[in-house]
């Protein structure tokens, strides 16, 4: 079998060694995607699970074990994975195809673009190792996938924050008829959002924290770090709002604009290259309405990233809470300098 674990383990069972958990989260949930897909499939017999030799590394194995007759393994062939998924969608099934971001986009982009996006086929791509959640370097880190997927017409693009949101998202996209690109957090996934109060809504950003000095607009797992940055800023008397934008497309322009009407110092925060993703989406919306803001984008700048441990990479590429807080202070400093 292919050695594409993207982690340090070859145990075949997702756990702490293959985890998306890069923080010191107090609570985690195991394989939230696999479990949520099983729950969705228990109520909807049209749901199928597919993978290209990465079932054990995308938590798809949880589904495969529960529904072996509804699981399709295509081997190491991502173009075929998305082509087959498109064909299955055309016969009325709801295929969830799991692989890594880099393979779903770089390797098989045309197959998703034509087979799913152009055709508005009901294909769900679930893509692991988003941004810096693997130490494997440029071949495995999906740093520009959101930009590529955002550029495709008809596609819903989601980067969930944590286990809570990932689970809710799976249930909702199973009911939504159309192509979806969902970034995956696998293994032991942090629980950041309160499942009793948080409700994921397709296409809606959520204001997780109010604040009048600076707006932290974040997506994906970076929202946890943005919340941590906001807590640190509060200690020095800076009130930071946190707007979590898990659906990158369709983009909730309204939520962004209503926040920025009142808070003009802005930091966007994404586990992705800063061109074409969340930072770009915010800049586009703001520029089009002519709002004057001070903006700093936190994310990977124009480079491929190194190999190494995830904590090392997160610090090196400044995706840590302290770097977010520092960016907020810089933006605020510029405001005072005016």
């Amino acid at each position: 079998m292919g050695d594409r674990t993207g982690g340090a383990s070859n145990t075949g069972v997702t756990g702490t060694l293959l985890s998306s958990d890069t923080s010191e989260a107090e609570t985690t949930a195991l394989a939230p995607f696999g479990r949520a897909l099983v729950r969705a499939a228990e109520r909807n017999p049209r749901i199928l699970g597919l993978t290209a030799d990465l079932g054990r590394y995308t938590d798809m194995h949880v589904f495969a074990e529960r529904f072996p007759e509804r699981f399709i393994q295509v081997g190491m062939a991502e173009q075929n994975l998305l082509g087959v998924a498109a064909g299955l969608a055309r016969t009325g099934f709801i295929p969830f195809a799991a692989t890594y971001c880099v393979f779903a986009t770089r390797r098989a982009y045309d197959f998703f673009a034509i087979g799913a996006a152009l055709a508005r086929a009901n294909v769900k791509v679930v893509a692991g190792l988003p941004g810096l959640t693997t130490g494997y370097g440029g071949t495995h880190q999906g740093i520009e996938d959101l930009a590529l997927m955002r550029a495709l017409p008809n596609v819903v693009v989601i980067d969930p924050c944590d286990a809570t949101e990932l689970e809710q998202t799976v249930a909702i996209i199973a009911d939504y008829n159309g192509p979806v690109y969902l970034r995956l957090l696998r293994g032991q996934v942090p629980v950041v959002l309160d499942s009793a109060s948080y409700r994921f809504e397709l296409g809606k950003a959520k204001l997780l924290r109010e604040g009048s000095d600076v707006a932290l607009i974040s997506t994906g797992l970076m929202t946890a770090r943005a919340l941590e940055a906001a807590t640190r800023l509060a200690k020095s008397g800076i009130k930071a709002a946190v707007l979590h934008v898990s659906t990158l497309k369709p983009f909730d322009s309204q939520a962004v604009l209503s926040l920025l009407e009142n808070v003009r110092n802005v930091v966007t925060v994404e586990n992705h290259i800063i061109t074409g993703g969340l930072g770009s989406a915010v800049a586009e919306v703001v520029a089009e309405v002519g709002l004057r803001i001070r903006l700093k984008r936190i994310g990977i700048t124009d480079c491929f990233c190194a190999s190494g441990s995830i904590p090392y990479l997160v610090k090196r590429y400044r995706l840590d809470p302290e770097s977010i807080a520092a960016a907020a202070r810089t933006v605020l400093g510029a405001a005072e300098g005016n």
Binding site: G75, N80, G83, V84, G87, R90, T91, I114
Partner: protein, 293 residues
């Protein structure tokens, strides 16, 4: 007009069946010339070359309902090579899925009949044209109808040049792994692709050996001979547990000598004055074919 085709006549190799399918192929070729003449260019060579296969599939083998294109049990024709759409438009018009008059809009601005076929046109199962994508989607459909226990079969048309796309072989592996005997791939071997003869651009021979090595049931036949296509289909239908590949040696421009000779290019340009000659040649060659049985 309601046309429901429910598959084959009893004795499919009987002379009357062959005669009637030849008449259909003749009609498809007339439609192809009509479309290409209107727009003054197009993939006329491909449309003429594939008319015999489409006549057999649409008027003999496939089960479909022209008034209910989303019938879940229908056999599906998957056109991977979108630029062959001119041939499929002819068949869809002849099958009463498209109005015959609409053929005059082929390739025109705002028309549903695009030069490179897509789902804009009723009766198209996929957006073809990005080569290498047809067979993967056909595999998905074959798995899907089988999961639902439907009798539907999937007929996918590929080209020889398209065999250079790696994804075709990814799908070929999966089809035999899953023993998709409800899947039929037709490979149109006319030895022409955009940059020249396939054997010069990137040789794909021996084609049958490749499909056989990938676990498919394979036959190689004269793709412009209706009796051979019928006999090969019979053999394929009798073979279980394997997907079926039918390698068709065809002549681009078949039926119009003017184009047969010019068929050294992927995209034939025709002078305005030549269409009348082309039409005349088609009728003459049709007569010739009739004489030869």
């Amino acid at each position: 007009m309601k046309e429901v085709f429910m598959g084959r006549a009893e004795n499919c190799l009987a002379a009357p069946v062959i005669r009637s399918l030849k008449a259909r192929a003749k009609q498809l070729r007339r439609h192809v010339l009509r479309m290409a003449e209107r727009v003054g260019q197009g993939y006329v060579g491909q449309g003429l070359g594939i008319a015999d296969l489409l006549a057999v599939l649409y008027f003999h083998e496939m089960r479909y309902d022209a008034t209910r294109l989303d019938w879940p049990d229908r056999d599906r024709f998957v056109l991977s090579i979108g630029h062959y759409s001119i041939g499929l438009y002819a068949a869809l018009a002849e099958a009463a899925i498209l109005p015959i008059e609409e053929l005059d809009t082929y390739g025109a601005d705002g028309s549903r009949l695009e030069m490179c076929g897509s789902e804009t046109t009723p009766g198209f199962e996929i957006n073809g044209g990005s080569l290498g994508q047809g067979l993967p989607q056909a595999v998905g459909m074959a798995l899907g109808v089988r999961l639902d226990g439907r009798p539907a079969r999937i007929f996918c048309l590929l080209s020889d040049g398209e065999l250079q796309e790696g994804a075709t072989w990814e799908a070929a592996l999966a089809a035999s792994h899953y023993r998709l005997d409800n899947l039929f791939a037709f490979i149109d071997c006319n030895n022409q692709q955009a940059d020249g003869p396939t054997e010069k651009v990137m040789s794909i021979e021996p084609v049958e050996d490749k499909w056989a090595a990938f676990g498919w049931q394979v036959q190689r036949i004269d793709g412009n001979d209706i009796a051979s296509i019928l006999a090969a289909l019979e053999q394929a239908l009798a073979a279980q547990d394997k997907p079926h590949a039918m390698v068709l040696d065809t002549l681009m421009g078949k039926g119009v000598p003017l184009f047969e000779q010019r068929a050294k290019s992927h995209f034939i340009r025709v002078d305005a004055a030549e269409w009348e000659l082309a039409r005349k040649q088609l009728e003459e060659s049709n007569k010739e074919m009739d004489k030869n049985g």
